[in-house]
């Protein structure tokens, strides 16, 4: 299975818009949304049936049995995450607890145990032809990277024989992005022609490079700032990164999305541009002996 991951660094540049167009154009049999923190792809993929849902257990969370607790304070002193409050009673803050188990270890009276905790929900949409793996992390939870790994595992087990998988990524460069990068064959970066967008693009390109993933770049809403668009293209040239196209700003794109459609479901200029980018991305993904 060849995996194409769509990333951007900066949020809101159009990852999901482009991923959904690619899924339609390729008639992809396997796709996933790895933005477990704020998933949106399911909103426009038109699945009518309910997905198969599975609870996702992150790391366990410590719990203190007050009947046994002797208030020795050792757990609070040992916790590196400030997750234990002493007032009014000894209690673990479930949002701060990372499940390391140090408190359980230091407690002299075995008042602390680690309890499994649901940290999100995995969802799998599937029929005879297609599989779509996605998830929603529980509010404030800290294990998004692990959940991303589960989303990808779920996709693999549901559609391993598929030739192509398209994966919508999350913004940023941290744990969910790093987890999504593992094992993919290519990253497409969706850049935005703003000073912020350029800075964020450079940081995500550096991150992808650390994992040795081959990377191509395209620009969304390129005509909102031509000068910055040119800066991005020059940057790609200097870095020897394939630049595979520009998508114009298109108010029809917002309309399509708000109607639950992709930009290639309607006739619009952003849809036309993304078709060309799709063609180039597929060539780059499937080319032999690529970097």
């Amino acid at each position: 299975m060849k995996q194409l991951l769509i990333l951007s660094g900066k949020g809101g540049t159009g990852k999901t818009t482009i991923a959904s167009a690619f899924i339609k154009l390729s008639d992809a049999k396997a796709y996933a949304d790895c933005d477990v923190d704020a998933p949106n792809l399911h909103l426009i993929m038109g699945w009518k049936a309910e997905p198969k849902k599975t609870d996702y257990y992150g790391l366990p969370i410590a719990e203190i049995d007050l009947d046994l607790c002797i208030e020795c304070d050792q757990c609070r002193e040992s916790c590196r995450f400030d997750a234990i409050n002493a007032e009014p009673n000894y209690k673990v803050d479930p949002f701060a607890c990372e499940g390391c188990g140090v408190c359980e270890y230091v407690c002299p009276v075995e008042a602390i145990t680690l309890k499994p905790a649901v940290a999100g929900e995995l969802m799998l949409y599937f029929d005879q032809e297609k599989a779509f793996s996605t998830a929603q992390l529980k509010m404030g939870s800290g294990t998004s990277g692990l959940l991303v790994t589960e989303v990808k595992k779920q996709l693999k087990s549901a559609a391993d024989d598929s030739e192509l998988a398209i994966i919508d990524g999350s913004p940023g460069i941290g744990c969910p992005v790093i987890a999504s990068l593992s094992g993919v064959d290519m990253v497409l970066i969706v850049a935005e022609p703003s000073i912020s967008g350029i800075s964020d693009m450079e940081r995500i390109i550096n991150t992808a490079a650390k994992f040795g993933t081959k990377t191509a770049v395209c620009i969304n809403k390129y005509d909102t700032n031509i000068e910055n668009t040119e800066k991005i293209e020059q940057f790609c040239k200097r870095q020897d990164l394939p630049f595979i196209g520009r998508i114009p700003f298109d108010s029809n794109a917002v309309k399509a999305i708000n109607n639950g459609q992709t930009i290639v479901d309607i006739d619009c200029k952003s849809g036309t541009a993304v078709k060309e980018i799709y063609r180039k991305a597929m060539n780059f993904l499937f080319e032999k002996g690529g970097s």
Binding site: A38, N40, P60, F95, E98, C100, G140, G174, V177, G260
Partner: protein, 286 residues
């Protein structure tokens, strides 16, 4: 007064709102907690920047003392240690710095060393104090940087402080809003925008934070984010129009409120509304 600006979805205008409010407030503090992709400094262009490296503690092995008992390997919930070929190996980047391995080692073969994961910068832009957290690329977890950013500022309660948050609603956002007195949710009028607004709405409710919404990129057409707010009786703090000139200023990392009278008025009036809301909250809750 600490005001956190968040959105769920990326690219809705958190930084636009934060830097312009900070500029409109004149004497204020701006803190960029989006340590993975910090952008506020590109707008505020702080001068006299001082830098401090941020590091976390990770275990260091003395293989002469290690007897291969693997107690640390078994203890580590993050699988950051392994014992192969008579040698204990630490995977630095998966370590959560809990210190457990050092506690369980019976031979004192483990000590701690510092590992740099990023930095905090402090500078000044006019009367705005600018704090920026920057995580090194390739690192997974920026929370220790956010902790450092926010602890430092706790002393200055009398200054208006704007906390520019990362996107999403995971641990990193929670950490950023933990000590905020008020939250501004920035929403855009799209299907995705509303879906993600709902997430941060749930988040601020969960943490019992007073909040209001700024509607960004407003068009003439029906605004699904506005409908969302009206249906739930959520305070709408202000509306920022979808506007070509504002878009250009913003994409060139200019502070609109400093460049154009129209935007100065827009953000000053937004600041007034926010300030009144925060004062109202402080009175009703004290």
């Amino acid at each position: 007064m600490r005001i956190a600006v968040l959105s769920g979805k990326g690219g809705t205008g958190k930084t636009l709102v934060s830097v312009n409010l900070a500029a409109a407030a004149k004497t204020s503090t701006y803190i960029d907690c989006d340590v993975e992709e910090p952008n506020g400094h590109l707008f505020l262009k702080p001068e006299g920047v001082q830098e401090e490296e941020i590091s976390v503690k990770i275990p260091k092995v003395n293989n002469d003392l290690c007897n291969g008992c693997r107690k640390c390997v078994d203890f580590c919930k993050f699988n950051a240690l392994t014992y192969i070929k008579n040698k204990l190996i630490v995977f630095d980047d998966v370590c959560h710095s809990c210190g457990g391995c050092i506690l369980v080692c019976p031979e004192n073969a483990l000590t701690e060393k510092e590992r740099v994961i990023g930095k905090v910068q402090k500078g000044v832009s006019g009367e705005v104090e600018v704090w920026t957290g920057i995580m090194n690329t390739g690192e997974a977890m920026g929370i220790p940087i956010i902790k450092k950013l926010l602890v430092k500022k706790q002393t200055e309660a009398n200054r208006q402080t704007f906390i520019d948050c990362p996107p999403g609603s995971a641990c990193i956002v929670m950490e950023s809003i933990k000590d905020a007195d008020y939250c501004i949710l920035v929403a855009e009028p799209t299907l995705f925008g509303v879906h993600n607004l709902n997430m941060v709405y749930e988040l601020v409710k969960l943490f019992d934070k007073p909040f209001g919404v700024v509607l960004n990129k407003c068009l003439e057409e029906e605004n699904p984010a506005e409908i969302f707010c009206l249906e739930r009786n959520i305070k709408i703090l202000g509306r920022i129009p979808f506007d070509h000139d504002l878009g250009t200023l913003n994409s060139n990392a200019e502070i609109a409120a400093n460049k154009n009278e129209k935007y100065r008025e827009l953000f000053s009036s937004l600041l007034d509304t926010v300030t009144k809301e925060v004062q109202h909250e402080t009175i009703t809750n004290s």
